[in-house]
């Protein structure tokens, strides 16, 4: 049976995923449409939306890093993180 702490952690992870994935969805999606379609409306709207979403994603990452920096437990957990492609020992 899941504890209240597990449920709270999952809820926090869901919120974090939503905050990061939503602007990333806009960036990836509009970029794909921009690549596939060559009309003036797509060029104008998609490029503006990509810029907006990139700013939003940047702000979300900044808030996340500030939060992580204030927590000893999260900073310790970061020692487990390796850049993509790098082997764990």
């Amino acid at each position: 049976m899941r504890s209240q702490r597990d449920e709270a952690a999952e809820e926090a992870l869901s919120i974090l995923a939503h905050e990061l994935q939503t602007p990333l969805t806009a960036i990836r999606g509009f970029a794909e449409l921009l690549h596939a379609r060559d009309d003036e409306r797509t060029r104008r709207e998609a490029s503006a939306r990509i810029l907006e979403a990139a700013e939003r994603l940047s702000a979300a990452i900044e808030r996340l890093l500030e939060t992580v920096g204030k927590s000893d437990a999260l900073m310790l957990a970061l020692t487990e993180v390796r850049p993509a492609g790098e082997e764990r020992e």
């Binding site: 939503t22 960036i27 449409l33 998609a46 979403a53």
Partner: protein
């Protein structure tokens, strides 16, 4: 040939905008809802041919909307779009009868392919 009606349900304006642009206006007529309650109102007012449904929304969430839609219109195709990564969300959506479950960030062109496939497969007497 009449336009196919798609109801977009998402609380995020940027995602709704992406979905609007994904669907060619020559083929699709778009209705939008910003939350679950509005989605159920639009369902009756607009009689959509397909629903694109966000899962995590304030108030009435995607699971409640999916449940209500499938009770009232079991054969109306619903595609869930979500940032949830835990498997139990997908399992719940499948138990409620979802037709496709895509995680964000999704490919809009792949989504368009899924929409076209579901609309081509739907029974001729839809909308119910």
């Amino acid at each position: 040939m009449s336009l196919l009606r798609v109801l977009i349900v998402d609380d995020d304006e940027a995602v709704r905008s992406l979905l609007r642009m994904t669907l060619p206006s020559d083929d699709y007529e778009i209705a939008e809802a910003r939350d679950g309650r509005e989605a159920l109102e639009r369902l009756e007012a607009d009689a959509p041919d397909l629903i694109l449904l966000d899962w995590r929304m304030p108030g009435l969430g995607g699971s409640s909307v999916l449940d209500a839609v499938k009770v009232q219109h079991p054969r109306l195709p619903v595609i869930v779009l979500t940032s949830e990564i835990q498997e139990h969300h997908r399992a719940l959506a499948e138990s409620l009868g979802v037709d496709a479950f895509l995680t964000k960030p999704f490919s809009p062109l792949e989504l368009l392919g899924t929409i076209e496939r579901l609309l081509a497969e739907r029974p001729l007497d839809e909308p119910s």
